[in-house]
């Protein structure tokens, strides 16, 4: 089932520069989709377009169509901007309170999704005292409680140390196991490529290719994505297509 359908989406600035050019893609239920490309290729804009926030930008001209069957939620590249309350728990309640969800239901959902993400110990913490990875998790909790069908993460690993990156990767794994469709815009694919069902390669605002990660590995390298060392090594040895390993385990086999 298709949850998001982007058709011929073009985004232009006031001076006519094309930031996205005739972009088409879809997001299916339960899949993990990577949006990849060099800085400036249009990843963040596309992530925002999928969520819908782009329509509210009056400095940009947007043509084309984005159809959503389900609810889509976005975790920003700088997730601290979407935390508005003092504690993680109060922040998670904010979106639901605004939608008039009854208090008991808010409690239930926060418990359920804090458990899903493994962030129960964070609930009482002040949002200003969180590490960068914890901030991403708190923002993720805030959008998950609204029970979106698709979660979009914009460069969730940038500037994170290993420990914090592991927290975010673990959360992505939990979302995937839960059946939530996950879209990740990122150029550092060392820990993400093996988690992806499909990859969309963006190049200068256009979709260069869409497909499964093994078949697109060479294209990903061409646009400057950071790949797992096993994948790099296989590409250097001219391995292509379905035989390209995404992990060192696969390389060994």
């Amino acid at each position: 089932m298709t949850l998001v359908d982007v058709e011929s989406l073009s985004v232009r600035t006031a001076d006519g520069s094309r930031l996205l050019d005739e972009v088409s893609l879809s997001v299916a239920a339960g899949e993990t989709l990577l949006l990849c490309g060099a800085p400036g290729a249009g990843k963040t804009l596309l992530a925002k377009a999928i969520e819908g926030v782009l329509r509210r930008r009056d400095d940009l001209t947007v043509d084309g169509d984005v159809r959503r069957v389900g609810d889509v939620a976005l975790v920003f590249q700088h997730p601290e901007v979407q935390l508005v309350r003092q504690t993680v728990e109060h922040d998670a309640a904010f979106g639901l309170e605004n939608r008039g969800v009854p208090v008991a239901e808010i409690r239930t959902r926060i418990d359920r999704y804090a458990r899903l993400l493994g962030v129960e110990p964070l609930l009482d913490r002040d949002v200003h005292d969180l590490s960068r990875g914890e901030t991403t998790l708190a923002a993720l909790l805030g959008v998950l409680v609204t029970e979106p069908d698709v979660v979009v993460l914009d460069e969730p690993l940038t500037a994170l140390d290993h420990r914090n990156a592991e927290l975010v990767l673990d959360a992505i794994d939990r979302l995937r196991s839960h059946g939530t469709a996950v879209v990740v815009a990122e150029h550092d694919l060392r820990d993400l490529l093996s988690r992806a069902d499909r990859v969309v390669v963006l190049d200068d605002g256009r979709v260069r290719e869409t497909g499964d990660p093994r078949h697109l590995a060479a294209t990903l390298r061409a646009v400057g994505a950071k790949l797992p060392v096993a994948t790099e090594l296989a590409l250097e040895r001219d391995v292509r297509g379905g035989d390209v390993p995404l992990t060192t385990d696969e390389l060994r086999e």
Binding site: A38, E155, L160, E236, R237, T248
Partner: protein, 253 residues
Amino acid sequence: MNSESSVEIRDVRYAYDDGTPVLRGASMDVADDAVHALMGANGAGKTTLLRLVAGLREPDAGTVRIAGDDPVGFAPENPRAGFFAETVAAEVAFFPKNRGLDVDRHVEEALAAMDVADLRDRAPLSLSGGEQRAVSLASVLAGDPAVVALDEPSSGLHAPAQRRLGELLCGLDRTVLCSTHDADFAYEFADAVSVLVDGEVVRTGDPADVLSDRDLLARAGIRTPGLVDLAAELSLARVPSSLDEAIEEVAER
């Protein structure tokens, strides 16, 4: 002071204004003309140590000595935080002007070194993230400092830009102290690595030694370099120093 060291840090302690300790007796040397990577988890004290080296803060106790007492060039993690001029050219001219150098020559050389000469008339804040990073480094290099302190210079760069940065740093012929979360970057381009854990330098040494110590990396929250993982998984006799060497090693098996 050791005659071959450009930077000597001894028993440095520093606490934030609210009393929270950041550095708890950090000591390390940075060799002349070396590219020295500073690694550790978010909050370990990397940025504070760089700021002390750059003279932007004074230690509460201990000493930071710079050979020749030359000014140190400093580039912050977020380039936007350092920009104040209306054009790139004016931004890059600030440091050489302050040092009484030949401004035109140093500006031109720095813009050319970072490949941003075509951006000279642009407003720094209007540039893309990668361009801002390049201008920030150009503004440091223009002052011709013997020592440069760079906070996460490779953060957010895609693979080719990161490679260009690494090669540039190695070819600078100056002492470079840079923080990074990216163990692959440090492994490939640094001459030495220091690891910070909770405000103390727990290890300084050759990247091949330091970044092969899995217990240390786990304790410090540092991702194991891909080549180190690869060598362990494939039971290679030694850790290859580059992807090319890894291919040779694998081919020999």
